[in-house]
Symmetry: C2
Subunit: 179 residues, 2 copies
DNA sequence: TTTTCCATGTAACTCGTTACATGATTTC
DNA sequence: GAAATCATGTAACGAGTTACATGGAAAA
C-alpha cells in the first residue's frame, strides 16, 4: 500500500495528472521507491474507481486534454489511515545476498574474500552516490539519512565478515553442518 | 536467482525430494528467504527441464513413490556461477516504511512520535526474536549476525528520528517543500 | 477412527515490469 | 523537417502467492 499512500500524499498537495506524478516521483522519490509509469497509471485508475480520487479533463492551450486527478474526501480518509498504518509498522527486510553467504564455505577462502570485496566496492559506490545527493528540504532529508545509516552498516558488517575469513584461526566454519 | 542458488546448494549436499527441501528451508532458512511450497516445486520442475538437476523415483516401504532430485554436472556449473554472482553483487534495499516518513510532517508531532514508537516496538520484538535463536553452526550464524546488525541500526535510526521530533528547536521541518 | 503428517501438485490471482503503440507539440 | 518531450496508455509476460485438491500412512 505504500504506492497508494505516496500518490494520495502527492495529490493532497496539489491536483496533478499522471505525467506530472511520474516525473515528480522519478526525480524526487527514486531513493525510496521505484514506481514505473504503467503501474502509476493503473493505480490511478484503480483509485478513481474506488472513489479515492476523482478525475477531470484539463485543457491547456491547444494541447490534447489531460486527465488531472484530485483527492476526494474518501481519499483523504484513506491517506490518514494508510499513513498511520505505514508509520506504526515495520516490514521485515530480506537480503538476497545472504543466500550466497550461506554457501561461502564452498569456495576457497581467497576467492570468497575477493568476491566479497567486489560486493564491498558496489556498496561503497552506492554510499558515495547517496552522500553526493544535495541536501533536500523536509522529510526527504530523513530518508536520505536512513539510506546512509543503512549502507554504512552494511559495509561494516561486510568488513567484519571479510575479517573473519582472513583469520580462520578460531576454527574456520567448515562445511560441517548447516542444520 | 537466489532461489535457484539455494535449491542447487542444498541438492549439492545430498539428493532430496521436494518435501524435504521445503521443510529444510522453512526450518533453517526462514531468516533469510521465504520460499513457498508451490514455488519450490515449480522451480524444481523448471530446473529439471533446463538440465540443472535430474529427477528419479524413490520408493520407501509401501509409501507412494517420491520424486527425488539430484544435481547434474551442468547444475554444478550453474551453482558455481550463481554463487559468485550473488557474492559479488549488492542488491539495493528499499524500505516501504520510508514513504510514511516522507509525510511525517502532515501529522501532529505528538501522534507521529506515538506511531514511530509503535514501529520501534515491532522492531524490538523482531530483534529479541533474532537474539533468541540458538547459535547455529557454520554460515547460518553469519546470516543471523547480519540480521542483528541490521535491526540494531534500524532501531538507532528510529531513535534519532523520534529524538528530532521531540525537540523541534532547530526549525521543525515543516510542510515547507518536498521538492 | 479421526486427526495429523507425508507428499505433490494445480488453478486462479495479484502485482509489477518491459516493450510497444500512438499522437500531438515544442525545439533545434 | 527531425528530434526531443509531453501525455496516455495496452498487451504480454514473469514471478510469486493463496487457496484448493488429492491421497496414502502413521498416530491418537
Amino acid at each position: 500500500m505504500e504506492r497508494e499512500l505516496l500518490l494520495l500524499g502527492l495529490l493532497r498537495q496539489s491536483n496533478m495528472h499522471g505525467y506530472q506524478l511520474n516525473e515528480f516521483i522519478e526525480q524526487n522519490m527514486s531513493v525510496c521507491i521505484d514506481l514505473k509509469k504503467p503501474t502509476a497509471y493503473a493505480l490511478l485508475d484503480k483509485m478513481a474507481q474506488q472513489g479515492w480520487i476523482r478525475e477531470f479533463q484539463t485543457q491547456s492551450g491547444n494541447r490534447p486534454p489531460r486527465r488531472t486527478y484530485q483527492i476526494t474526501e474518501q481519499g483523504e480518509q484513506q491517506f490518514q489511515r494508510l499513513l498511520r498504518e505505514n508509520l506504526a509498522a515495520h516490514d521485515t527486510v530480506r537480503f538476497p545476498g545472504d543466500i550466497g553467504v550461506a554457501f561461502l564455505s564452498e569456495l576457497p577462502a581467497a576467492e570468497a574474500i575477493l568476491l566479497l570485496k567486489q560486493r564491498r566496492d558496489a556498496l561503497q559506490t552506492d554510499l558515495e552516490a547517496a552522500r553526493a545527493v544535495p541536501p533536500h528540504g523536509g522529510s526527504l532529508q530523513l530518508i536520505i539519512e536512513h539510506r546512509l545509516y543503512h549502507l554504512e552498516t552494511e559495509i561494516r558488517w561486510l568488513d567484519s565478515l571479510i575479517d573473519k575469513l582472513n583469520r580462520p584461526s578460531t576454527e574456520s566454519f567448515g562445511s560441517s553442518q548447516m542444520k
